[in-house]
């Protein structure tokens, strides 16, 4: 098991949400907030770091309603990282699952 996954839970969520298609900040935040209880303000520092580290790109696109939106899009590195982190995560929950279910024997 890799300890790295612990730090990457929120990162993994964001990378996974962006994997299929790019999203703008509000969209991303609303989806995340439905599932995990975090304050809205914490997403943007994370997004900036993911950009700084080369996992995401941004571009501005006009919108038919409301203001122009900054879209966040995964880079190749971002996609590779998502796959790697996802594997580690699945391995980990599998191990935990084995342990908690095996407790009765």
């Amino acid at each position: 098991m890799n300890i790295q996954f612990k730090k990457g839970v929120l990162e993994l969520c964001v990378l996974s949400l962006l994997y299929e298609n790019e999203k703008y900040g509000y969209e991303l935040t609303s989806i995340l907030l439905e599932k995990i209880n975090i304050s809205d303000g914490t997403i943007y520092p994370l997004l900036r770091r993911l950009k700084q580290d080369g996992y995401v790109n941004t571009y501005i696109r006009e919108s038919s309603e409301g203001p122009a939106r900054k879209y966040y899009q995964l880079t190749e590195l971002g996609k590779k990282t998502q796959i790697k982190l996802k594997e580690q995560w699945l391995d980990f929950i599998q191990s935990v699952d084995d342990i908690i279910k095996g407790g009765s024997c």
């Binding site: 612990k6 730090k7 990457g8 839970v9 929120l10 703008y24 900040g25 509000y26 935040t29 907030l33 995990i36 209880n37 975090i38 304050s39 809205d40 303000g41 914490t42 943007y44 520092p45 994370l46 997004l47 900036r48 770091r49 700084q52 309603e65 409301g66 203001p67 122009a68 939106r69 900054k70």
Partner: protein, 190 residues
Amino acid sequence: MNKVQFLNTMRSSLRGLPKEEIEDILYDYKEHIEVGITKGKTESLIIDEFGSPRKIAKKHKAEFYMGEAVREKTFKTVTRALMAGFGLGLLNLIFVFPIFISILSVFFSLFMTGIALLISGFAVAISPVFTFNPFPVAACITAGIALISLGLLIMIGSFFLTKGFVKITITYLKSNINLIKIKEVTYDED
């Protein structure tokens, strides 16, 4: 708190970062508020959901200074990253900071010792020229060269020690900032 107050508080809390960085950070929040309004939320609700603008600004600052310390590892950047992490409420950094400073000063004094040895080596080597000296010239030169080599060795050694130590500090800082994030995912209620 309305949009203008929120953004102004953020802006003043972000002071110290480059101007374009600040504007870029604020852009995301401005857009978020405006999009939220088109989705039928009220301005004050969206701003409440953000949480404290000062807290958010601190996070941005810590991220920025961390990135800077990783890109160029100097005393200034690492100190700033440590201070920013401290501002985030990473209390263990209170203990880390004095240790960081004292270990660095030990390395610094080692480096200065190296320089002193280097200078005295030169002085010893050329001493037969200037003063009446009971020791043979060859002995003076040999002793001088020995001192110079020792000085250089200590200087190089302390340089690499410092470099390695700064690297460890940054790794430690990074894991701290990441840890805080996990805690938020699980426990942060606001």
